[in-house]
């Protein structure tokens, strides 16, 4: 519950919770983000994968019970479902074909170079998107109602938050997954985890070898069926005294309800009959090996088809500073949207097709929505995969994600010969600065110091914009900020001057 509460608050974009060590640790411990981080060569991800492997090999799918926020959310729904007596009780047959098929497809698609499927069904990402796009707007509405009500009584201790419209596709897909997960959990317990979730499937395989597992003691068991009815995964076959460890989510309910203490969490596989390999598992391993090899051969062409913007063309939008470049970013991001929730300027927005099919729903820099705050590096701080690497502020302030371009024929100053300078005012590095001519300040570029923050494009008052950022394919390092007349010393103390009037 603690984990769940922490993640809910983190995804509401509450800065200090999002950046707290506990949130950072727990979000990096999420399976798909850790895996994607590992594949992109992040060393810390290796540590987290080891922790997850060790946990699973020791205690089975304890991850699904206490670390995965979507799992905990479903447990909440299951609790309500039990209260309303809608919970479907008893043992359910597993659906290994569908289950391992989805897992195999996920692995194949990742090796083929797209995280699309993994992003779509990753429980952390699903939970993140539900929180950010469904719950957060409600939280903002409540917050703002309270803030504006309080302001009627001259209480201004809290600040209102501005919500941004997201692409309708992102909303509906998130909503659909929310309904799907709710439906599954309300009527079928942890069915999402045991059918669709690739983490559940992979850990299910590992669980069979885990040190501790739930075991029914046939000598004590009176076959009362209490454990089977309580089981949220429907994985206890009371009649045969069997627990399907690949589906067990280590919730301890069975042990709690057993009146005879016949359910034990103990070293399990010693008791299992030796030499009884699971045919489905074998098929899974075979399929995966075959398709994995195929993916390696066919990977490159598949990648070029799936990625809408191969590395030779600039992407349709820039990626956040710390993501190093479009290809690395789209291959690593799990689209959990935590960065979107903490971005106070709202420059980070979900894509639909801007990064190609492969990069669907991953965040882009949307300069029509906001600009990258020069003094902020939160997105890298919250990213669980390392798709946006954490950058120290000084480095972020030199990281060039794109380069400014000036369309003189659309600029107010050039068209009407009068001051505007919205871009000049907001540029943090003076990549666009004013050169005065007949007392009018004309925007002038110093491209090598531009970091592509998009402030100029964001505030440019004409439509279409007269100043835009062209995204870099691979991020670069900008020159230090430019100062006009820099170096010409000004007398430091000018307090001795007489009043000039």
């Amino acid at each position: 519950m603690g984990v769940f509460g922490l993640f809910i608050l983190a995804f509401m974009g509450i800065e200090w919770i999002s950046l707290s060590p506990a949130t950072r640790f727990l979000s990096r411990l999420q399976a798909i983000p850790a895996l994607l981080g590992l594949l992109s060569g992040r060393l810390p991800a290796f540590f987290f994968i080891l922790v997850l492997l060790a946990l699973t090999l020791l205690f089975g799918r304890i991850y699904c019970a206490v670390i995965c926020p979507l799992g905990i959310l479903q447990d909440g729904v299951i609790f309500l479902s039990r209260k309303s007596r809608r919970f479907r009780k008893g043992y359910r047959k597993s659906t290994p074909g569908l289950r391992y098929g989805i897992l195999a497809l996920t692995i194949v698609s990742i090796s083929a170079g797209t995280t699309l499927l993994a992003d779509a069904i990753d429980p952390f990402g699903v939970f993140g998107r539900i929180s950010v796009h469904l719950l957060r707007p409600i939280a903002i509405m409540i917050n703002n109602t309270l803030v504006f009500t309080a302001s009627q009584f001259d209480i201004y201790s809290f600040s209102p938050v501005t919500a941004r419209q997201i692409p309708v596709a992102v909303f509906w897909v998130t909503y659909a997954w929310f309904i799907l997960v709710m439906f599954f959990s309300f009527f079928h317990g942890r069915q999402y985890c045991n059918t669709i979730c690739p983490v559940g499937s992979l850990m299910g395989i590992l669980s069979k070898f885990s040190w501790f597992n739930f075991v029914l003691d046939p000598d004590r068991c009176t076959q009362c069926g209490a454990c089977g009815r309580q089981c949220r995964a429907g994985c206890i076959d009371v009649r045969h005294h069997q627990v399907d460890h690949s589906r067990c989510v280590s919730c301890f309910d069975c042990a709690d309800v057993c009146p005879e203490s016949a359910v034990a969490f103990t070293r399990a596989h010693k008791r299992e009959t030796a030499g009884d390999p699971d045919p489905h598992r074998r098929r899974f391993i075979r399929t995966t090996l075959a398709t994995g090899a195929g993916a390696l051969v066919l990977g490159a062409p598949a990648r070029s088809i799936l990625n809408g913007s191969p590395a030779s063309n600039p992407p349709a939008a820039a990626t956040a500073p710390g993501s190093l470049g479009i290809d690395r970013f789209t291959n690593t991001c799990s689209a959990c949207h935590h960065c979107i929730s903490v971005c106070h300027t709202h420059v980070l927005q979900p894509t639909v097709f801007e990064f190609g099919v492969a990069g669907m729903f991953q965040p882009k820099m949307d300069f029509s929505s906001g600009r990258c705050d020069y003094t902020c590096n939160k997105c890298g701080g919250v990213c669980p995969t390392g798709a946006i690497q954490p950058l120290p502020l000084a480095r972020k302030q030199r990281t060039q994600i794109g380069i400014v371009d000036f369309l003189k024929d659309k600029c107010i100053v050039n068209l009407y010969k009068r001051d505007c300078g919205a871009c000049i005012e907001v540029c943090p590095t003076h990549a666009v600065y004013g050169i005065a001519e007949k007392n009018i300040r004309y925007p002038t570029l110093k491209k090598e110091v531009c970091i592509g923050c998009g402030a100029c494009e964001n505030v440019c008052p004409v439509m279409p914009k007269a100043i835009i950022v062209k995204p870099n394919i691979v991020h670069d390092v900008a020159d230090p900020p430019y100062f006009q007349d820099g170096g010409e010393k000004i007398q430091v103390d000018r307090t001795d001057d007489p009043f000039p009037f």
Partner: protein, 311 residues
């Protein structure tokens, strides 16, 4: 009989006329005397230099006749500093927090019922409030820090006689407060040449972008037709001479230790432009303000009080 009657009527009438004339003369005179008295005790513009922010303001408001002249007991006051940028006080991108604090203290002493401080920041509001030091200064001296970064605080108003700016949305505090005190910082500004008191009023409206495409300087001048602050105080303690308004270089900010105070928004801007070393005519919104009858940029005809503190 008739003639007698006429003479009496005539006398009566002329008597009444005399009384009226005398009264008019007396009252007129009286008005003249009080106007002269005001002029001698309250200058049009006060300029103080060579002191710390609080000492500069103490001297300026004393010379202007005390805060009680502007703030009556039980009134509500809104103070509008420049809190546009997420920058610390030493960079002088925002108004000096020590000055804002001193102004609030004077308002408290004058018996103000409530004192509000806000700006529609360019950078993220909460971050600016914090890093500028103004939030903590305001809260510690008894003022309320009000957010300016949400559209719901803004109400649409008509700008009477506005040439380019005919309608705009204004922060409700400007509409509701009894006294409006405008406290900009003197800075070089890449878009408008300088940023001063008239330009600082861009932070009380919601849609600034509109100014930029309609005509920056004319809109700045136009807004003054809707509302002029009751008092303007220009912070020239530290001034940004180049590469303003937000991220000037270390060599671009100098100590000037000066403060200006005036109810006349055009005059104070003209004086500040001169301190910066510019001809007020070259700052187009000052020029428009002067010729549009908003205020006076010709300082020669004004009663200016100049004070140099011992330091």
């Amino acid at each position: 009989m008739t003639s007698h009657h006429n003479r009496r009527q005539f006398l009566k009438k002329s008597g009444r006329l005399t009384v009226t004339a005398a009264a008019t003369l007396l009252m007129g005179n009286g008005g003249g005397i009080s106007a002269l008295a005001t002029a001698s005790s309250a200058p049009d513009l006060v300029a103080v230099k060579n002191g710390e922010p609080h000492a500069l303001f103490d001297a300026a408001i004393k010379a202007a006749g005390g805060m009680g002249r502007y703030v009556q007991k039980g009134q509500t006051v809104v103070i509008k500093p420049n809190i546009g940028w997420n920058r610390e006080p030493e960079y002088a991108a925002n108004t000096n927090p020590a000055l804002v604090q001193r102004i609030i203290e004077h308002c408290v002493n004058a018996g103000a019922k409530k004192i509000y401080v806000f700006d529609h920041s360019v950078d993220h509001g909460q971050r600016c409030y914090k890093s500028s030091g103004i939030e903590s200064a305001a809260k510690s001296s008894g003022a309320l820090m009000v957010p300016g970064d949400h559209e719901r605080y803004y109400q649409e108003v008509v700008v009477p006689g506005g040439q380019k700016l005919k309608k705009t949305k204004v922060h409700e505090l400007i509409l509701e407060s009894d006294v409006y005190i405008n406290v900009p910082v003197l800075k070089h500004h890449g878009s408008s040449g300088l940023t001063l008191a008239m330009k600082n009023q861009m932070g009380v409206v919601w849609n600034r972008g509109e100014y930029h495409w309609r005509g920056l300087h004319q809109c700045i001048a136009d807004f003054c037709r809707f509302r002029k602050p009751d008092l303007n105080i220009i912070d020239a303690y530290r001034i940004t001479l180049r590469n303003g308004p937000q991220r000037a270089g270390a060599d671009d900010v100098v100590m000037k230790k000066t403060l200006l105070l005036s109810p006349n928004i055009v005059a104070i801007d003209a004086a500040a432009a001169k301190i910066f070393g510019k001809d007020p005519q070259d700052i187009s919104h000052i020029y428009y303000g002067h010729h549009g009858g908003i205020g006076n940029m010709d300082l020669n005809g004004l009663n200016i009080k100049r004070i140099t503190l011992p330091g």
